[in-house]
């Protein structure tokens, strides 16, 4: 009895070993970078974490195909390295020792990627399923682009400044015109002619001006 049990167990073990190995059919490689994601709060990857992983994969399969037949024991892990990276397959207990097709596994993981990531406090980049691409979320776009709003503000300021300067210029011009017409009405416009920079009225234009210095010594000169 014991021998038969041991025999079946070893057969199952060998079969499992054949199902899960690197680059096996329907097997996926997983790469986890805990220290990069969590830094000082990093936890160690041990058997408990592996159990959680198997549970999450089983959960994903159940949710996807909505038939509750996938058990934790159906998920097989192998080749765990220090990196941490490993390979896993999902077996189908209804059919004899075969693996669930890769496309189904992929679809299930994609559907529940967020839940799986959160269970391990990781993200798409730090919990990588190497053959499964993730859909990237688009950046948040506001309805009016921000730059247009800023541009509108800047433009309003500039136009306000220009209008202010032009209006003040026109007002100054009008005031100057008003002042100069007022001044014209009040005073007579005196035409001042200049000769050599000196107004003509200041110059004595009488010809033959007698110079007093020489006029005193009149008798000394010979009379004509």
């Amino acid at each position: 009895m014991l021998r038969a049990l041991l025999l079946t167990l070893s057969i199952v073990a060998i079969a499992h070993a054949e199902l899960c190995k690197p680059d096996a059919q329907n097997a996926f490689k997983v790469r986890i970078s805990i220290k990069t994601a969590l830094g000082d709060n990093a936890y160690a990857w041990d058997a408990n974490e592996e159990y959680l992983f198997k549970a999450m994969v089983a959960f994903a399969m159940r949710r996807y195909s909505s038939k509750s037949t996938t058990q934790i024991s159906n998920v097989l892990l192998c080749n765990v390295t220090d990196r941490v990276s490993f390979w896993f397959v999902v077996t189908d207990s209804s059919k004899n020792v075969t693996t669930v097709p890769g496309s189904e596994v992929e679809a299930a993981i994609r559907m529940n990627r967020n839940r799986i990531n959160n269970a391990f406090l990781l993200s798409d980049k730090t919990l990588q399923f190497l053959k499964i691409t993730s859909t990237l979320s688009p950046p948040v776009e506001p309805s009016t682009p921000v730059w247009l709003i800023v541009f509108g503000v800047v433009l309003c300021l500039i136009v306000a400044g220009i209008v202010f300067l032009i209006v003040s210029g026109i007002q100054k011009h009008k005031k100057k015109n008003k002042d100069s017409t007022e001044r014209e009405n009040l005073e007579e416009k005196v035409e001042v002619t200049l000769e050599n920079g000196i107004p003509c009225e200041a110059l004595d234009l009488k010809p033959g001006h007698i110079n007093g210095v020489f006029a005193a010594d009149d008798e000394r000169f010979t009379s004509l």
């Binding site: 220290k35 990237l136 730059w147």
Partner: protein
Amino acid sequence: MEKPGAFLIPYFIALLFEGIPLLHLELALGQYLRKGSIGAWNSISPYLGGVGVGSWIVSVLVSLYYNTVLTWVMWYFINSFQEPLPWSVCPLNENRTGFNEECYESTSVNYFWYRKTLNITPDIAESGKLQWWLILCLAACWLVVYLCTIRGIETTGKAIYVTAIFPYLVLTIFLIQGLTLPGATEGLIYLFTPNLNTLKNPRVWLDAATQIFFSLSLAFGGLIAFASYNPTKNDCEKDAVTVAIVNSMTSLYASIPVFSVLGFKATTAYWDCLDRNIINIINEFDLPEESIMRQNYTSWISFLNSSYPEKIAGLKLKSCDLQEFLDQSVSGTGLAFIVFTQAIILMPGSQAWAILFFIMLFSLGLSSMFGNIEGVFTPLLELQIIPKSAPKELLSGIICLISFLIALSFTLGSGSYWIDIFDRYAGSVPLLVIAFFEVIGVVYIYKIKRFSKDVEWMTGRKLNLYWQITWRFISPLLLLIVFMAFVTLQMQRPPSYTAWNPKYEGFPMKEEKVYPPWVQAICVLLAALPCVCVPLVALFHLVKQKRRSKDPSFVPPEVFSCHGANSNFSHTKE
């Protein structure tokens, strides 16, 4: 790109023998003759009127394209209010499985600059469409210029208080931030270590000479215009030396935060390169995380290379060299819009830094625009293109409107290639030629003895030996040598440009292309147009003189010598 440490040497030599003498010459000229560039040169001698016209044309050409650079700055500024910064992430492709291909191949910063801002075409012959967002920003920029120059020097004089002081504040803030970043010291060492080999390359000397022109705005006519508003007895010699020294000190002061940020960027790129290699190795060999760190990377690599060489070769690891990353710093528009924006993403609080940086760039560019527009505006005002009764606001409005309409062509897909052409050809050779004729004209035609007396009358001091020697011999000689070197360098190979072509095999490297013949003709036209004004106007006056000498009732030319003195009384200070 040449190592900047050695660049300082030709820069200071050019400053001492070219920059300061020419600056003093132009300021003295404008202050004494009290006219803009065209009027001033007509006063010196009608045969030299072409120098003024040439400066005016250069100012027009430079104003056209310079404001488009400001447009790009404004575009980046209004985009800096977004969280996250739009140049930090790549957009997704159509089916959301990955990133946009062009963005993924190059970087998100490059993608934002070449695609989202310029929407650049792969070839200069393909014009592409007008980019509406750039048109909006261009209109806003020309409105800002109009606002500040609306009444000529009256409004410009007030605006300059803001645009001149604000950059110093921002530079100081960047200096403090930059020095605290990791890798800043590597950048500073890179800046200040001279590599004397680069001095053998004539290109370095050429770049230093033309950089001085742009830095001090020489030969644009703007300085003559500004100086004409000074009081007559102002000490222009002190002004010239002060302006030149402050300008150079500011450039040095500005280079410190710039290079510390570049050092930070290079260091971060180097660490990223190392980290990527480390992840690849860890994944390939399934080693535990954090077993290979940056410090023991080289020892691990040598160990793995000896034990598993084929696996290592299969990984195709990039070689990470800090010096290579430091050398990658581009100059010109690439520096601000690609390198610096990349560095800003890495800093904490990147929006604030981006906003500050682009406001600073905007005010710096705006002050340069003031000089250019003044160089265009003042001569037109003196030539009385519009009747005296019309307000000054009208003339500045017309100038800004016409410039805006012409500059729309720079908002096409191929616009940035055209701006490079304008920058390289309209903004380099004509300046050298005009400056050369300026010095020769004042020293040998107006005669240096007369000019020394005029300057002595203004400053109250005799001109010392430095000015005499540089004005008479050194500056013209230096200008001639630089001009000859430039022409020979240009002749050596056909002018080419680098195009951003996503379909190129070497993408993201830029594709090197040769200009088509019609573009080359435009380049020659741009460089030659301001220069031929000088002989053309001289020829025109010669012909007019010859015709007048045959006419018995002509006015003797001695009247022209008093023209300068009379103009003292005719120029009213606005």
